[in-house]
């Protein structure tokens, strides 16, 4: 049908961005909205068409390469502009384009009347282009192009309200912090190229390309030891790549930019800082699974960082009073879950959580956007309360999102979170008792998640109507956002905003059913999601991989795509696992319900609960970074680079050259007699001497 179907997916939003960026200023809001939504919609339709057109091939682990042109070719280094569709990138393009389409629709309502309407949608479309490039790239360099592209769009959209200082500061912070991570990523790719002589993911015989992951499968597994990190092998590559992931996906210690990124418009927070861009780090770790499988130390680091971030961010989320900040910390926490899953080797579970999280977190963010708009740009939950009467559609959809993220059974978040907790409890290949510790941290986070989300809902939708109070809430955060329209009764948002909420709410309920864990259903419902993904990841746990086994040997699981054929051995394993899994499921269900109960009882009674100062001030991490990093750099720049190197050395050299020339000139002036004919006399005399010398000689 089309010559380059995958290229069209990424080009549609690029065309939208170009048209809007060049001509959008003269267009009506309606025309801008139609162009922005239709280009992303076209991408979405094309993604669905291609994915389901090749569904069975993707289940078999086929990789569809689409070569466009050779970008760089120097010596043995080669990078193509070429795209790759396999089940992992396929799932990503499906939920990215789907969620993004509905967020674009929501934004046409949310941004109405804004002066930069065209600019906003041009950036949003450009973001879609970058994100799809990141996901569909078939080599690390092209992925890096998308990686930097989403970073740029994130910067532009966080700083969208560029007349406000806090937005500019937040944008710069996001960019600089991400740059630290990107440095690690770039080093990781360089080291990978140094070791494997290729930056492509997989072999493509049609172009005569060798893939780094095919190379990685033939390497031996690094030992579990901290020294392996610095040995320059697989573990080093994996750790460096993970540094990039901590930047982009806001993990400890580089998470600080994400809460500040809420300075951007709310649809941006939903699309970029919750549903898509921040999951790029998880995508990259999952994509490089064959490298991580050979670097158990790096896996352990990923799991520890993920679990620590999940718990850490959840405790901060408990104490924030800005509705978007709560969701921002919740996002960081959920991203921690995804890395926890990757770290314990359950890449499919991690991606599954990315998938379900995209629905319910986009829903929650858009719901908060609807609340903020309905409250006339009020973001402080201490001034809300009792909104369910005024905003029934927003309330109903956010209610679904709340239950989904809290892990209430039979909603999407339940399945994915449960899968992650189960996988970390039963993780293989970790040092003793690590698995239980990781599980415990994950479970504690789940409890906190339920509590802080209940707090958010109770403070916003139930209780007294605090927005009627005229005096500001105690200790109100004055930097939180624009307050110019304060006052008036809250109102429900227009249809263009409630419809996306309803669609995403449906997604938040049902997205989990594509990946019901096998243990829960007794394999009666096939775990389609995991089955689809298993061929995209390195298939064996590290201790089972012998260096000689090639990747492409088909295992029995993929022979029949429709049902899971189980050998007797598998069946026995499954029954043993099933017991553990059901027990853990009951535990996590209880955790969710207890969390909601605690939140309900305590915050219904005391919605203006004063949180501990340590939590309210986010553990003073920003202050610590400021003291440890920002201030020393500022002082060094001022004291050494400016006052000494620039003023003394550079300016001194320039001024010194001028002074020297002046002095020299003053000295030379003594030679001048001012009599022109005497100069001629000297000239002639000199000429005669020279000629005379040659004549006499």
């Amino acid at each position: 049908m089309m010559k380059h179907p995958l290229a069209n997916i990424i080009l549609a939003p690029l065309i939208g961005a170009a048209v809007l960026g060049l001509f959008g200023k003269r267009m009506s809001e309606r025309a801008i909205g139609i162009i922005a939504c239709s280009t992303v919609g076209a991408s979405a339709i094309l993604s669905f068409y291609i994915f389901f057109g090749h569904a069975s091939a993707l289940e078999n682990g086929d990789k569809i390469h689409e070569y466009l042109f050779t970008w760089i070719s120097v010596g043995s280094f080669r990078a193509d502009f070429s795209l790759l569709l396999d089940s992992l990138s396929g799932i990503y393009i499906l939920f990215i384009t789907f969620v993004a389409f509905w967020i674009h629709v929501f934004a046409t309502g949310y941004m109405r009347g804004d002066k930069g309407y065209w600019r906003f949608f041009a950036y949003m479309n450009l973001f879609m282009f970058s994100m799809l490039t990141l996901v569909l790239a078939d080599n690390f360099l092209l992925m890096f192009v998308g990686w930097e592209g989403v970073g740029l769009c994130s910067y532009l959209l966080i700083g969208y309200y560029f007349t406000k200082d806090f937005a500019n500061d937040a944008a710069k912070k996001a960019f600089v912090v991400n740059r630290i991570g990107d440095f690690g990523f770039a080093l990781g790719v360089m080291l990978l190229f140094f070791k494997s002589q290729t930056i492509f993911y997989f072999d493509d015989p049609a172009r005569g390309i060798h893939g780094a992951f095919n190379w990685a499968m033939h390497q031996s597994t690094d030992p579990i030891a901290w020294s392996a990190i610095f040995a320059g092998g697989m573990t080093t590559i994996a750790v460096l790549l993970f540094v990039g992931a901590t930047g982009k996906s806001a993990q400890l210690p580089l998470y600080v930019w994400l809460p500040d990124a809420m300075a951007g418009p709310t649809p941006v927070s939903a699309l970029i800082h919750a549903a898509t861009m921040v999951t790029a780090g998880v995508y990259m770790v999952a994509r490089a699974s064959s490298i991580y499988k050979h670097a158990p130390t790096a896996m352990l680091i990923v799991a520890i960082i993920g679990a620590a971030t999940a718990l850490f961010a959840a405790t901060i989320g408990l104490a924030q009073s800005d509705i978007k900040k709560v969701l921002a910390y919740s996002t960081i926490s959920q991203l921690g879950y995804m890395f926890l899953a990757c770290g314990v080797g359950a890449f499919a579970a991690g991606i599954f959580h990315v998938f379900t999280h995209a629905f319910f977190k986009a829903l929650l963010f858009l719901g908060s956007g609807s609340v903020i708009l309905g409250m006339h740009h009020e973001q402080d939950m201490r001034r809300m309360g009792g909104l369910k009467k005024y905003m029934p559609a927003t309330f109903a959809t956010m209610f679904v999102g709340w239950l989904a993220i809290s892990g209430v059974p039979l909603l999407s978040g339940f399945f994915s979170k449960d899968e992650i907790l189960y996988r970390s409890f039963t993780a293989q290949g970790l040092p003793d008792s690590w698995a239980k510790v990781l599980w415990f941290v994950g479970a504690a986070t789940a409890l906190l998640t339920a509590i802080y989300m209940t707090r958010l809902m109770v403070m916003t939708f139930w209780g007294g109507e605090r927005f009627r109070d005229s005096e500001p809430a105690p200790g109100a955060d004055s930097t939180a956002g624009a307050r110019e329209h304060h006052g008036g009764t809250p109102h429900e948002s227009p249809r263009s905003m409630t419809v996306p909420l309803i669609v995403l709410a449906i997604g938040a309920v049902f997205a989990g059913y594509v990946g019901v864990p096998a243990g829960l259903s007794g394999a009666a419902i096939p775990n389609y999601f995991e089955h689809l993904l298993e061929r995209s990841f390195a298939s064996n746990p590290p201790e089972l991989v012998s260096p000689a086994v090639p990747l492409e040997v088909p295992d029995q699981h993929s022979a029949n795509p429709s049902i899971h054929p189980l050998s007797d051995e598998d069946r026995a394993d499954l029954q043993a696992d099933q017991k553990t899994e059901i027990t853990l499921t009951i535990v996590s269900t209880l955790i969710a319900l207890v969390g909601i109960g605690i939140g309900w009882v305590s915050f219904k009674r005391q919605p203006l609960w004063k949180p501990p100062r340590l939590l309210e001030n986010k553990y003073y991490v920003d202050e610590a970074y400021d003291a440890a990093v920002v201030q020393p750099i500022k002082q060094a720049s001022r004291g050494v680079l400016w006052k000494f190197i620039d003023v003394r050395i550079i300016d001194g050299a320039v001024n010194g050259a001028g002074v020297l020339a002046g002095l020299l000139g003053t000295g030379m002036r003594y030679l001048q007699s001012g009599l022109a004919r005497s100069y001629v006399a000297v000239l002639v005399l000199g000429a005669l001497l020279i000629i005379g010398y040659f004549v006499i000689k």
């Binding site: 002036r669 003594y670 001048q672 007699s673 001012g674 009599l675 022109a676 004919r677 001629v680 006399a681 002639v684």
Partner: protein, 100 residues
């Protein structure tokens, strides 16, 4: 046919007139004319020697000298005009601000 020595004698004469002129004149334009005279004396030498040795190199060099002389005349006259505008005088001995 005129022998080579006559050409050389004429050119030596011209050169001497030019050199002496540069020495004794105070008017900037007169000095300038004398410099041109010296240049052309050299040109004459080059052309006659070129004919004598049958080598066109000398004649080619004359063209270069003429080009340079034209450029030098343009720049020199511009400077002279500028000096006259500032000082109402063409006496080179009065243009001595560089002297301490």
């Amino acid at each position: 046919m005129v022998p080579l020595s006559w050409y050389l004698a004429v050119s030596a004469l011209l050169f001497t007139i030019g050199a002496v002129g540069v020495f004794i004149k105070r008017n900037a334009i007169a000095i300038f004319l004398c410099i041109e005279l010296m240049l052309n004396a050299v040109n004459l030498t080059l052309v006659s020697l070129s004919g004598f040795f049958g080598d066109v190199g000398g004649q080619l060099f004359v063209f270069i000298v003429m080009t340079v002389a034209a450029a030098e005349a343009a720049v020199g006259l511009a400077i002279i005009i500028s000096i006259f505008r500032n000082r109402e005088s063409l006496n080179v001995d009065e243009v001595d601000t560089l002297k301490l």
